[in-house]
Point group: C2
Chain length 292, copies 2
């Protein structure tokens, strides 16, 4: 059996009992280590499972999946994925490959940012499509995400914005010279994300986002211990002006609040507001939450 | 500490290790028993935890939450919720109440249908807002859900449709006479859901759904064992014509496939199609998946 197991969001205790059983019974255990990161080290995970873990980078999962799937028809093999396994195309690929090889597959679900974002108080059924924001460079500032945010904003839906992470990236020079030297991991911070979004707004100028009147909620380490999880709510300008430390350690995520927001959602998130009075004022005057 | 703990989707083994620790350390454990249902009995859960569970109905969670929260400032109290705790307003209420009482609260996340729906092969970031479909009666056929499906369909987004369940409902007569006699639980089946949606379409006639050319995927018992989880894909007409048994035991959910579907999503779900050839044909000709 090929198990593809969601680890949840925070540390080794977020695995489900069903997932842990599968890990314990597997002859090989892989950890997918590029679409997201766990908040703990591989060593801690190995100590916890009392078995070695093989790190699987993008290349291995996407193009050498047969190596992972070897013997999975006669033995149990597990692939661990941070969050839930089936949020991204990457993992459906390997399931399709297993299917083609006639290997029985079992998905063990867990929390992912796609549902745990509910921690900020916004209701999941009020979210529109999800977008990803990549690191801008001097010459490459892709703005196709802006069209999708616009669609959500027009309908009044909330938008979950997933922020870029760079793991195992090579510098252009090292890439050109074929040197397998990797840069330290980078995680997009909330101020960077907001400043990129406002940059796109200033270029496109389609009145989708506004520093003073767009409300947003930043989340980091959702599901972590009380001293780790951080939620910060405010206008885009307020979030931009916070020091990076205000948002805690990565991974970060930001939600753009849609106009159909319910006053209960605003009240719940007010606890996390940089400026509670301004949060409530914008919700009332701009978002039309009359009940506040 | 007041713990609000997601149980995940299927049985007692879907709780996380973190969640189980909290249950073990709690002096009282409540099980929220009306927004969703677990696939196993309360007795089995009690045997597994080796402690009694108090069933909490809607009334208790929504209006008598102080009873649940009593002493939670000095002892640990857990409220168990099927899926993830913060998907529905109902549970934010009790967290707000705990906050007002100065009781520290910790949410322990888990998989819910909102992210585990990825099991059907459709990508989560391509979903628009989520809708709920309630049981129609002779005189009450609410269609506001149709407007939201229309918004998603127009944008090409997938729509997750949550189907009504009736737990602890009274008949009109028993309600009128004040008799606390409850009807057996009812769960909306896939054919009922499809027939209700097609009824609304025929009333509204705004070309949102079509029996022959709208693709949909029915899911039941997502996350359950291989003999429990059931995924069936097809046109609305094909799903309507399946016998109810084809969809397995409740709970059921249905996804309306949006036009921006990627050919990989179609290929993944083809495995579950009632008629694979027709599935692929509609995807190609109507949805414009040229790569198929």
């Amino acid at each position: 059996m090929f198990y593809i197991i969601g680890l949840g969001l925070s540390d080794e205790k977020d695995i489900t009992l069903r997932g842990l059983e599968a890990v314990k019974g597997s002859s090989r255990v892989y950890l997918e280590a590029y679409t997201s990161i766990l908040m703990i080290s591989q060593e801690r995970l190995e100590a916890f499972y009392q078995k070695p873990i093989i790190l699987a980078d993008r290349d291995m999962v996407e193009t050498q999946s047969d190596e992972i799937l070897a013997n999975a028809d006669t033995e149990d093999v597990s692939l661990l994925v941070v969050g839930d396994p089936l949020g991204a195309t990457t993992h459906t690929d390997i399931v399709l490959r297993a299917r083609a090889l006639g290997i029985p597959t079992r998905v063990i679900h867990n929390a992912s940012i796609m549902n745990a974002v509910g921690a900020c108080g916004l209701q999941l059924y009020n979210f529109g499509q999800t977008v990803s924001l990549v690191f801008f460079t001097e010459t490459w500032k892709p703005d196709s995400y802006y069209d999708r945010v616009k669609e959500n904003v027009k309908l009044g839906m909330h938008t979950l914005v997933l922020l870029d992470i760079k793991v195992k990236e090579q510098s252009e020079e090292n890439l050109a010279r074929g040197r397998k030297i990797y840069e330290p991991p980078r995680y997009m911070s909330i101020p960077t994300a907001v400043s990129q979004m406002l940059h796109t707004e200033s270029e496109r100028n389609e009145d989708v986002l506004s520093p003073e009147t767009t409300l947003a909620i930043a989340l980091s380490r959702v599901g972590g211990d009380a001293d780790q999880q951080r939620i910060v709510a405010g206008t885009l300008k307020e979030l931009l002006e916070q020091p990076e430390e205000a948002f805690g350690e990565p991974l970060h995520t930001i939600v753009i609040v849609g106009k159909r927001v319910h006053h209960m959602e605003i009240e719940y998130a007010e606890e996390y507001a940089v400026d509670k009075q301004n949060w409530r004022r914008v919700a009332k005057e701009v978002y039309g939450c009359a009940e506040l």
